[in-house]
Symmetry: C2
Subunit: 310 residues, 2 copies
């Protein structure tokens, strides 16, 4: 796809590896990104499941640089750049654009609750105006169960009308298919609607969606991409059912520690299990049940352990 083409397909909020002192491990992140790319999965680094909101702005700027320095394709990168403080969002978004990222995934500022659409519009508008780049492509990040501050259809419509070349799409993590459907039916030109997980991937594709951005693509990338590539096939429903089984296993546990435990187990690199507070790692009992259920499904992460980070 060309530099100006908008995203489509499967992306993942790449899990962020930490060292025992809780500092990020850039080499290991490079490894995970390489593995994702080898599986046709794009890099929505700094998403919710990346523990991005437990990272500082400086840490994120540095990690972008480390990925680019390691020749990770910025054209496959959609970093999360929406922070509570406007200058952080501006700085991070500007850096992503300069690094050549194809797009950014922007949370609304999420501390203050019950803010108006006028306030959220002003917030996105300030970022767009101050970054001031024609190359900026914003994917709005609607995740009310976590952020508690959502992005209404009205707000999207206002933003598209004001910045048609910049507002490129949305990740809908509301879990509300009716909301996703309303976005798909809104008639916005070349607006890319991503389901917030593979649970809605087939439904999204059948209704004109662009793909999904899913945490479990960190661990089950090939199968998820396979449904994306074959959603028109006769096996599509069966493929969706298969994805749901694996996702169901991860969803029984706290998602981020479970993803990291799987990465640790299948890469044989135990530090992958480390999460930054306020998250906590799985208990031994949780680990045992997670791995047993995965084994029962003959689950694997083929190729991960063969890719080196640096």
């Amino acid at each position: 796809m060309s530099k100006t083409e908008r995203f489509a397909g499967v992306l993942t909020p790449v899990i962020t590896p930490f060292k025992p002192d809780f500092s990020p491990d850039p080499d290991r992140l490079v490894q995970q990104c390489r593995w994702m790319l080898s599986q046709n999965v794009g890099l929505a680094i700094f998403g919710t499941n990346s523990e991005a909101n437990s990272l500082t702005t400086d840490e994120k700027l540095d990690l972008i640089d480390r990925l680019v320095d390691a020749d990770i394709d910025a054209g496959a990168m959609m970093p999360g750049t929406g922070c509570c403080a406007l200058p952080d969002s501006i700085r991070l978004t500007e850096h992503a654009v300069k690094a050549g990222c194809r797009g950014v995934l922007m949370l609304p500022p999420f501390y203050y609750k019950s803010v108006s659409d006028d306030g959220l519009f002003a917030s996105y508008a300030e970022v767009i105006e101050r970054v001031g780049s024609e190359r900026l492509q914003i994917y709005l990040y609607h995740i009310p169960p976590v952020a508690q501050v959502g992005i209404s259809l009205d707000l999207i419509d206002r933003l598209i009308k004001a910045y048609p070349g910049t507002i490129a799409g949305v990740k809908d993590s509301s879990g509300d298919w009716g909301n996703t459907k309303a976005m798909l039916n809104a008639g916005w030109d070349d607006f890319r609607v991503f389901a917030g997980s593979e649970s809605f991937l087939l439904q999204n594709m059948r209704n004109g969606g662009a793909g999904c951005i899913s945490a479990t693509a960190n661990v089950n990338p090939a199968a998820i991409h396979n449904l994306y590539a074959n959603w028109r096939s006769d096996e599509a429903d069966q493929l969706q059912d298969g994805l749901n089984v694996i996702r169901g296993i991860f969803q029984k546990h706290p998602m981020i520690p479970a993803l990291k435990k799987a990465a640790a187990h299948y890469s044989e690199f135990s530090e992958w299990s480390i999460v930054r507070p306020p998250l906590v790692a799985l208990t031994e009992a949780q680990e045992t049940s997670l791995l047993a259920e995965l084994q029962e499904q003959n689950f694997n992460m083929p190729g991960l352990a063969d890719i080196t980070g640096s």
Copy 2:
């Protein structure tokens, strides 16, 4: 009070002045802090009503320095230092301790929801261990209506047992008097319980509380301090009623823009009205009704306009 004595009395989350380009105005902040101190109100800078979560860590570090450079008493300062990302909380807390602040008011990390007490304990423990100063005095900030992540009685108990010299108190902005009462009755040694607003000031004092940390002390400091100083007097209930009338007027409107509009009006400095996105200023109709209602109560902010910022 001595440097090691814990806070008591009335404090306020000092409103943060912005310039038209949305950058902070340190001189104006110095002015507001001077006025607060002249009214016996302590400086809980970087609280919720300070729009602190719309400020970057660098902006907060700089503002602490600017206040100290302007001879604002750090012994009266309780900056908010709890951020989403642990390294931000550590850096800001360390800076506050080095600047001589008598305490810090710490939100839990608030992006990830449904986190465990184990995770929140680890988060506070990391800050305490990494700052590593005997001078650190932490006041826990419990504000579930906004942060959505609360601080349970169990968590407070665990933290006090692990760090008895550091965990100094709490601001309870739950709005739930039963919760405040449970903290007051917990029997923790020299633990300072602050009501989250003056609405509960008298009740808090009558049950062994330490005072209140209230947004409206930005505009109505003398009257609030007067109740604190005279809570044992026969007029106490009447004084509380008077405070409730003024607070009620502000609560009819979005609180932060209303406080700033009052500051702008009574200081005759119009820039005080500026709020940073995602907040929006009051509409003209809201401004008119706010000021009319305040005038009806013969409300004023005496002395504010006479204090210069730099």
